[in-house]
């Protein structure tokens, strides 16, 4: 089928303002949007800037706006879009560096500010083996371990668009992953940070994050659980 592809372009070295380029491509319904962009780079315009690596939705490189909605280009097939007009734009709310490449630094800073690592200074089991954790205890936080830090969620959040200081769903998801891990001992610290003005209360349950997450993480649910943990002090 013939696809009309409209791609956001911006080269700060030569342009003051962004523009859109149009391409017409032959494509299969089962092609990934990433395949289309690669085709553009291979056959039309090699200068198109984008990030990508794994090509099957596990590395988190190629989150972008596809027909107005955040998704991984390698996980959206042409047939999923139900349209032969496809518009590709960079993520919203992060500075565009070039074409579809945005500045991820603020995103990672938010992530790091929530101590996204296991903290437990208690002595390890004396037999030198693993800490015991039941299957149910793993299930308690397993969903949020799936995050690939693609930023599709945070950049779809109205609160984040309005104010980039909002820590954002991705950071909360990664805090959740440790707050509810029975082996971790620093839940109080993280929750205290999340209890600030730029923290979890900025979430207005707009739900774009959950709709956008390519890993199908129940983000809004995770955020609600964090809010509950802060207000009730309960962690299970």
């Amino acid at each position: 089928m013939l696809i009309h592809l409209k791609v956001f372009r911006f080269d700060p070295q030569t342009e003051k303002a962004p523009h859109y380029d149009n391409f017409e491509l032959q494509a299969e319904p089962t092609d990934r949007v990433l395949d289309l962009l690669e085709k553009v780079r291979n056959e039309h315009d090699a200068s198109l800037g984008l990030r990508r690596s794994c090509a099957h939705g596990v590395c988190g490189s190629d989150a972008m706006r596809i027909n107005g909605k955040n998704a991984l280009a390698c996980k959206k097939l042409v047939r999923d879009l139900n349209s032969d007009h496809i518009t590709i734009e960079p993520l919203l709310g992060l500075k565009v560096i070039r074409d579809l490449i945005v500045d991820m630094k603020p995103f990672f800073e938010h992530y790091e500010s929530l101590l996204p690592y296991l903290i437990n200074e208690e002595p390890l089991p004396t037999d030198g083996k693993e800490r015991i954790q039941t299957e149910e205890q793993v299930l308690r936080y397993e969903d949020t371990t799936k995050c690939i830090l693609c930023a599709a969620c945070t950049t779809s959040c109205p609160s984040f668009w309005a104010d980039g200081k909002y820590i954002g769903p991705a950071a909360i998801v990664n805090a959740h992953r440790f707050v509810f891990d029975s082996r971790d001992r620093a839940a109080a610290k993280r929750l205290k940070i999340l209890n600030q003005q730029f923290g979890v209360w900025r979430c207005r349950t707009a739900f774009n994050c959950t709709e956008a997450c390519p890993r199908e993480i129940k983000i809004t649910q995770a955020i609600a659980e964090v809010k509950r943990a802060i207000t009730t002090g309960k962690l299970d």
């Binding site: 919203l92 709310g93 500075k95 779809s156 668009w161 309005a162 980039g164 349950t205 649910q221 809010k227």
Partner: protein, 139 residues
């Protein structure tokens, strides 16, 4: 980058679903109701502070323009209430139900509840305006 531009592009251009629209509508209706409420408290307080003005103000409320605004207000409060109840209930009693299917459904239900309450109310209020202001329906 200007936050305002990003924000507006996102609000209007992002293809969000039920949750996105519920958020926008909840915010707009909340602000609308608040604006009305602030005015309403002040004018009602005239019954004590400036009783001679009160009936004049009420007269203003009876105008067609205000009447239509009032119909809008009723929608705003119905929607904001229904959707707010949804949010408060999920947050406080059923955080596990913040899932895609359930959220899409509950957001739709909130809108439908608001409309179901509003349509007859709007009809009745519209009737009252036509009746009192234009003498229709045998007024």
């Amino acid at each position: 980058m200007s936050y305002l531009k990003t924000t507006l592009t996102g609000y209007a251009g992002y293809r969000g679903r039920e949750g996105h629209w519920a958020f926008l509508l909840h915010r707009v209706t909340g602000l609308g109701v608040l604006l009305f409420l602030a005015i309403h408290i002040i004018d009602t307080s005239f019954v004590y502070f400036a009783p001679h003005l009160y009936d004049e103000v009420i007269q203003l409320y009876r105008s067609t323009i205000f009447g239509l605004g009032e119909i809008g207000l009723v929608f705003c409060l119905f929607y904001h209430g229904a959707n707010g109840l949804r949010i408060a209930y999920l947050d406080k009693f059923a955080p596990k139900d913040w899932t895609i299917e359930k959220t899409r459904r509950s957001a739709k239900i909130a809108l439908i509840v608001a409309l179901v309450m509003w349509v007859p109310a709007a009809g009745w209020m519209g009737y009252n305006i036509l009746h009192h202001n234009y003498g229709l329906f045998g007024g």
